[in-house]
Symmetry: C2
Subunit: 338 residues, 2 copies
């Protein structure tokens, strides 16, 4: 019998999340029942949405239950199988959670998917060619729906979603302007990811100052925006939108701790006849095949070169997660488990 | 030569608008040139959008120029014509502005439209069967797009737009809940307009209290909302939205004076995967024929019984307009000019 390690949500954050909200436990791996598959995780994905799940308050998903393994995307390898579709050695992506092993029902729809690592490294199936990439694809293609020549902005531009958004928008002939925290990230966004410009929000004390920088970077105004952050960034972008601008709302990371962050000037929704739409990519499974195909091609052809920040070992996950919430990661945040 | 009276925008409001922003002048009516039509106005329409035009700041339309006749919709009668399409005695609707007479180019697209007063009183072409009615139609049909059985809410429910919205939504099998100011208006909304419920926002000191009342009036949550007001009402509605709710933003009257009103909890856009969309009906002329046809039938069949508040004489327009901004009118606010 193999030994598993798991990280549970032990208690809910009061204000800012801390490592004391989590607990690492050791458990045995249960013997497989018929149709089940045992997966050994190679990488665990850390994502901002997990912070929302840690709260008890109403969100788009059920709160993460206390005392249970933290939810999370994983890639790994089948090490034991009692399901005809999966054999030992298969590389798979799934929602295994913050643990070394998971037992998965091989028949459950969408829970475990075999992937090809010939042209795409396994870890990228948690990033550019996974949920974050499809998130960017959905917001850009289905909500922003940009025309060639339009200007599209994205916050958290150096992250897994933002970097995919940039490559997808460039492929559609858009001017793409990122917003990120710090000179290193902005340099990466422009020089490695190929954005037309990137603004360091940390250089701006308020949304009016940030908005002025956006005016310079977007001389023709903003037609589409992909929001990962909210707060000051969204306020600044709204001031620079053109008539009929579309804003896809994917994240409001700045508001997870404590009181909700207001939107300063919602009257701009009317003034600029904007459309603002929130979405969760897991509710739009119908787009995944088309999106993953385009994203795989962008990565395979080198047009999208996603960066990863990798923490080592399951015990490092809580600290790495808290760092992600503060923007300490650079690109996709992963935990290497093997 | 006939004598005209006009109300000009004399100076821009600082904070709240006052009667001293306007100036009444007498002018001669110019002789008609070829293809022109002289219209004697019977009614002038007063609408909240005019307040936005009085400011110099960027809005969806050019600001009202100083020293020129205030913009506004009018209905009246052709009293002189040098255009083959219009003859003396024709009843017409147009954008004649705050004055007794207007000279109109009979060839200008959409500037003057003949109307039939057999089943619909002339004044209603400024309300339920005019711009306010089409505004309600567009927001409901093109943005909210409700299914039968869904719950739709509307602010300023007793007004020209709100009352039309209610009739249109009831015709689509929705539960319709209004929000209005004062018991008289709420009684009218339920008893005469046929809404399922109406909440008096004046009985609530903050958006949380108003939201609690909405929960009782909308036991299945809110699927669609038509926003004429903004501020506390929008905050309260957002708290009660169901997943995939749609909000059509038509007005932000509460924010016209002074500083913009913030939206308290924009994170709900993501949590409830909402779509919020601002629009201006004059940018969607393609829907007018279909909308006016449905609205005319609703009025003709007595399913929509719009109420009017009528001020007498052009000189009364500024005072009536300021009253409208404070919700003193009951239904469509008009000025009778003849």
């Amino acid at each position: 019998m193999q030994h598993n390690q798991q990280i549970l949500l032990d208690n809910r954050p009061v204000g800012e999340a801390t490592t004391s909200n989590f607990k690492l436990v050791e458990t045995p791996v249960a013997a497989l029942e018929d149709q089940q598959v045992l997966v050994r995780h190679h990488y665990l994905s850390l994502d901002p949405y997990m912070r929302g799940r840690m709260n008890e308050s109403k969100s788009y998903a059920q709160p993460q239950p206390l005392g249970e393994v933290m939810i999370g995307g994983t890639v790994g390898e089948v090490v034991e199988s009692r399901h005809p579709k999966f054999k030992v050695g298969d590389k798979v992506v799934g929602m295994g959670g913050w643990q070394l092993f998971s037992v998965v029902d091989g028949n459950a729809a969408g829970m475990l998917r075999k992937v090809d690592t010939t042209h795409v490294p396994l870890s990228h199936y948690l990033g550019a060619v996974g949920m974050p990439g499809v998130t960017a694809w959905y917001g850009l293609v289905k909500i922003i729906a940009p025309k060639a020549g339009e200007t599209v902005t994205v916050s958290a531009a150096s992250g897994a979603v933002g970097s995919a958004l940039g490559a997808l928008a460039k492929a559609r002939g858009c001017r793409v302007v990122g917003i990120a925290g710090g000179k290193d990230k902005c340099d990466y966004v422009v020089k490695e990811l190929g954005f037309d410009a990137c603004i360091d929000y940390k250089e701006h004390k308020d949304y009016l100052s940030l908005s002025k920088a956006l005016r310079e970077a977007c001389p023709n105004g903003i037609d589409g925006h992909f929001e990962n952050v909210g707060g000051m960034v969204l306020d600044a972008v709204m001031l620079r939108t053109n008539a009929f601008a579309r804003i896809a709302v994917c994240g409001m990371i700045a508001g997870y701790d404590g009181a909700p962050l207001p939107m300063t000037n919602p009257a701009l929704i009317l003034v600029n006849r904007m459309k603002i739409e929130g979405f969760i990519v897991s509710e739009h499974m119908e787009v995944w095949p088309e999106a993953l195909s385009e994203l795989g091609n962008l990565v395979g052809s080198g047009k999208l070169r996603p960066r990863e920040t990798v923490a080592n070992g399951l015990a490092a996950a809580p600290e790495a997660f808290l760092g992600l919430l503060k923007g300490k990661n650079f690109g996709k945040q992963l935990v290497k488990l093997i």
